[in-house]
Symmetry: D2
Subunit: 163 residues, 4 copies
C-alpha cells in the first residue's frame, strides 16, 4: 500500500487561548483531507484538541506518548505509542510526520519544529507569534511556511506533499 | 474510546525457517480477534510476516521503525512510526504492546522480551527453543507463557488481557 | 562526592565563522573554571572546537554521540557516549548539562536550547543572532541569558550555578 | 588521544546475594587495569557496587541514568549522563561499552546483554546462572564468555580488547 500522509500537529499543552480551537479545526480539516493526524498524545492542550477534531471527521489519530504507561492518553487517540522517553520522543514526532504544523508555541513545540527542520521536513507555523516565525524562517527559509489561518495551513501542507 | 488491544509480535529478521509461517498465521489470528498488531516494521523476517498475516484478515498494523527514513518499511504496515534510534526502539515495542508474543529467537527478540518483562508485560513464547524458554521462565515465571502452536499462543494472549 | 558542574556547549557543525574560535575559548575558560564540558562529540564544528579548548586547559570532555559507532568522534573527547539515536540524543545533552551555552545557531542547536528550556535549565546564548535571542527570550525570559562575549558567558554560567 | 577502554558492568538492582561483592571486586580490578567503568548509575545494586569498587582503586566511573534528574545517582559516579528515557538507555550501555560484563541476572540485565550481542559486542557472564548462560551462548556463541570468578572475567575482557 502507498505510504500514508501523516500530518504532525504540535503545540503547547497549556495556556491555549486561540491555539485550542485552531488545533481542533486543523485536526478536522486534516481528517477531511484524508490525512492521519499525529500528536504528542496526551489528554490536554493542542495534542488533545487536534485529535478531537480529527475524530469528529472520522480520521485516524496517532499519539506519541512521552510517559511509560497508559495514564494521561487522550481518549481521542486511536493508536497510542508509549515511548517512556520524555522529550526525546519529540524527534519521533518529527521523523514520523510527513509535514509538521505548529499551532501556538512553547519550549516543547520549539524543539519539535527545530528537530523537523533538522531532518528536512516542511513546517507550517500557525499562530506562533512573530518572534518564533522570524527565528524558524531564518533557520530554514525554504522549509518554513507561515499560515494566517487554518485554511492557509492546509493549503501549505498540500503544496509540499509528495505528488 | 476504550484502549485498543495491541499485540506485539517480535522475532528474528532472518533465518526464519518455521518462524515466518507461524508469524503470518499469528498475525492473521490476531486481526481476526480484533487486535492491532505491532512489529518492528521492516520489510523482512517475522516483522513483515506478522503484518502480512494481519492485513490478510483486514487488521491494523503498526511498525516501530529503527531507522530514520521511510526506506525498508514493510508494505504491510499501516502506521509507520519512524524512531531513528536503532535498537533503543525495542523498549517502545515493549511499552506499547498490551501483550508481547515472540516467534523465534535472536538477540533483538531477546532484548524485546527482556524489556517487556522489565515493565511487567506478559510474554508468550512460540517456537523460541528450550534454552530461551528456560531463561525467560526463570526471569519472570508469572509473566512467561510457552505456546506450542499459534492456537495456544492466541489462547495465552486472551487469558492475560484486561477484562 | 559532590555532583560535578557540567557545562553543555552546543552549536552548529558547519559554517562556523566566528562560532569556532568562540567555542574553543569558551571550552578553555570552562575547564579553567573547573567545569566539565559536554558536547555532541563529533569531530567538527562547535562540538570539536569546544572540546579542543577544554583539553588545552586540562579539562574533562564528554561527547554524546548521535551515531552508533566510534567513527567521527572528536579526538578531544575523553568520555564518548554512543547513543545510536540521532537527534533524540539532543534531550540527553539538555538533561545532562548543569547549564547550557549555545555558540552560534542552527536547527540542532535550536532543538537543544528548546529542550533545555523545557526541562528548566538555564541557557546562555553567545553569538546566536538577534532572531534566535528574541525567540528564546520570549519562550522563557527567566532562563535565557544573552552574552556578548566569552567572558560574559562565563559570568552568566557562574551566576546560575547552584551555590 | 586513543579511544578509552570502557567496561560496562551490568547487573540487577536488588536481591544481590553474591553479585554485590563480585561487582565491587570487578569494578576495582577494572580500574586497576586502567579501564573506565560504565554502569546504569543508580545508587543501588550492581551499578553502585561496581562504581564503588572502581573508585576504591582511583578509577573513572560513568553512570547512564534512566531517570530525568539527579536524584538516585550513585555517589560513586564521576560522570552522570541523564537520559530520561528509562530502559531505552540500556542500548546506550551496550553501544558505549567496549566490552560488557553481566554480574548476576534480571530482566534489565538480560536486555543489556541481548542488546550488546545485537551490536556485536563481546559479553562476559559472571554468576548469571546456568539458564542465562545457555540462552546467551546459544544466541551468539562467539561473543559470549562464561567466567567462574572475577579473575576469569578480567582475563576474558583482556582477551577480546582491540590490540
Amino acid at each position: 500500500m502507498p505510504s500514508p500522509v501523516i500530518v504532525g500537529i504540535m503545540g503547547p499543552d497549556k495556556q491555549l487561548d486561540k491555539a485550542g480551537p485552531l488545533a481542533e479545526q486543523l485536526g478536522k480539516a486534516a481528517a477531511e483531507a484524508g490525512w492521519m493526524v499525529l500528536t504528542g498524545g496526551r489528554s490536554r492542550g493542542v495534542m488533545h484538541a487536534a485529535c478531537t477534531g480529527a475524530k469528529s471527521a472520522g480520521g485516524t489519530t496517532i499519539g506519541i506518548i512521552p510517559g511509560d504507561n497508559t495514564a494521561d492518553i487522550s481518549p481521542a487517540v486511536d493508536i497510542p505509542i508509549i515511548t517512556g522517553m520524555g522529550s526525546a520522543r519529540d524527534n519521533i514526532n518529527a521523523l514520523s510526520s510527513t509535514v509538521l504544523v505548529a499551532v501556538g508555541m512553547g519550549p516543547g513545540t520549539s524543539a519539535e519544529v527545530s528537530l523537523a527542520l533538522k531532518c528536512n521536513k516542511h513546517c507550517v507555523l500557525l499562530g506562533v507569534g512573530d518572534q518564533a516565525a522570524a527565528h524558524f524562517s531564518a533557520l530554514a527559509p525554504s522549509l518554513v511556511h507561515i499560515a494566517g489561518d487554518v485554511g492557509a495551513a492546509v493549503t501549505h501542507v498540500k503544496s509540499v506533499l509528495p505528488a
